[in-house]
């Protein structure tokens, strides 16, 4: 049964999120509970919607990727240019059409083959990508329903270019599509630590899609996100480095990569939704360390642990310590308590200053036992009390 508080329905989420950021401790706690409650309501709605859709769809739909061209406009999705079964454009002047199509299909296949997931929503949602968004648009995004990519500065004279087209690297496409997966799973709020986790999951699976395509081991991979996005005028290999956060670029025009790789360097800021693209360096590096510790192909074990935590454990308001605890828990469930895999997760979070206690899992069990014992005691007392009352009659 859902307790319905009318007050919470009329307060817009952004106000609650501002309070969560700026309020007194008591206000912050109120905001946290409000966000959590609406997440639970959303979860119930989603569960009902899932069941309804499952009933309606007899067979799971197959992959359905389509690319649209915005023609430098900003109205989405634009004009359809390529879908499933269509021949490649092979136009050297418009490489982004084929890159967006191939990137979306590769990412779909990655999720299907490795984690058994059918598209962004797990139910075969058609994947819509729009290229050539905006004029000299130096960005790619997920708008809640589809992916969109700018051509960067490729239309400007070479000397003025800072950014190449945003479809140039598969990790960007995997990143944007994963924002969709996050939206349908944990639903992490795009703000501060929960937002940085949202960003980090997008980077993790964006990187894994490219590693899978290239069949690289964790040791062979470069762990660069947005490789080749900068033009040759900028001193940088890409936008972010999961292996060494803060080292992807350093240039007099655009400054230095601001990502921390340790909690000691966590950045408090109001910019960028509270630093979602900055502090994501911390969980990014934790994932890299786990993959390094385990060796081999990172999508097989480290990726699986992160995927299960994203789908089954994290919530809208999860913080870094929650992600540490819950990936540790997922590793224990998948590979056993005290397994090499679970120990690797411990090492990963420890190296970024978020240690997960080795006894964390046991502590949860103990509290479960305490609750059980307490419950039995209450039940016994109740029975004794009832008998006593009966006798008195």
């Amino acid at each position: 049964m859902t307790h319905h508080n009318p007050l919470e329905c009329i307060i817009p989420p952004y106000v609650v999120e501002k309070v969560a950021q700026n309020g007194t401790p008591a206000q912050k706690e109120w905001a946290r509970r409000t966000i959590l409650q609406s997440a639970q309501i959303r979860g119930q709605r989603q569960a009902v919607a899932d069941m309804t859709q499952r009933g309606q769809r007899m067979a799971a739909p197959a992959r359905d990727c389509t690319v649209f061209d915005c023609g430098t406009g900003t109205d989405l999705p634009g004009t359809r240019v390529r879908g499933e079964g269509d021949p490649a454009c092979n136009d050297p002047n418009l490489p982004d059409i084929d890159e967006a199509f191939d990137g979306a299909t590769l990412t779909y296949d990655f999720y299907k083959d490795i984690y058994g997931r059918n598209s962004i929503d797990g139910q075969g949602l058609p994947l819509v990508s729009s290229v050539n968004f905006g004029i000299n648009y130096e960005n790619a995004f997920w708008d809640g329903t589809q992916m969109a990519y700018g051509r960067g500065h490729e239309a400007l004279p070479p000397a003025e270019r800072l950014f190449n087209r945003f479809t140039i690297d598969l990790s960007v496409i995997g990143h944007e599509l994963t924002h969709g997966v996050v939206q349908y799973e944990a639903g992490l709020v795009y703000f501060q630590q929960a937002g940085a986790l949202n960003e980090s999951f997008a980077d993790v699976f964006g990187s894994l899609v490219r590693q899978y395509k290239l069949n690289q081991t964790a040791a062979e991979a470069d762990w660069i996100i947005g490789k080749g996005l900068f033009s040759s005028n900028i001193n940088g290999v890409g936008i972010r480095s999961m292996k060494e956060p803060g080292t992807a670029y350093n240039d007099p025009l655009i400054g230095k990569d601001p990502q921390p790789g340790h909690m000691n360097d966590y950045v408090n800021t109001s910019q960028d939704q509270g630093g979602v693209h900055i502090n994501s360096g911390i969980p990014n590096h934790a994932f890299y360390v786990v993959s390094r510790e385990l060796g081999g192909k990172a999508w097989e074990k480290a990726g699986k642990i992160w995927y299960v935590a994203l789908c089954d454990k994290l919530t809208r308001v999860s913080q870094f310590t929650d992600a540490a605890r819950l990936t540790h828990e997922a590793a224990g469930e998948l590979y056993g308590k005290g397994s090499l895999e679970q120990k690797a997760v411990e090492t990963g979070w420890k190296e970024v200053g978020l240690p997960v206690s080795a006894s964390e899992g046991d502590k949860v069990d103990l509290s479960g036992c305490t609750r059980l014992v307490g419950g039995l005691a209450v039940l016994l007392l109740g029975l004794v009390g009832k008998r006593a009352l009966t006798r008195k009659k």
Partner: protein, 100 residues
């Protein structure tokens, strides 16, 4: 009229910021900027304009206008930056880039 402009966020999160005094601009450009500010009724806007859509990796803008002793700051997401806002932000981005 003085306008401060800042952009953060986006996939690459490369900050773009700048300030412009319309007196330092050619008259036509200055007039175009103050026309946009007036059409938006900037000083009557709320200080935070909420996002109308979900999603991720979109830009976040902060605009501050100073005029005739008044000063007002508005924070808005890219999804709300349409129409005159889009034109104003487009002009300011171009100016910020020219200045850098």
């Amino acid at each position: 009229m003085r306008i401060e402009f800042e952009r953060s966020g986006g996939f690459a999160n490369i900050r773009v910021a700048g300030a412009v005094d319309t007196e330092s601009l050619p008259p036509q450009e200055a007039q175009a900027l103050s026309d946009l500010v007036n059409k938006l009724d900037f000083f009557a806007l709320p200080s935070v304009i909420p996002s109308v859509t979900g999603g991720a990796d979109r830009f976040q803008y902060t605009l501050t206008v100073e005029d005739e002793g008044r000063r007002h700051t508005v924070e808005l997401p890219e999804s709300a930056a349409t129409g005159d806002f889009a034109n104003l932000i487009g002009s300011l981005t171009a100016l910020a880039r020219r200045g850098s």
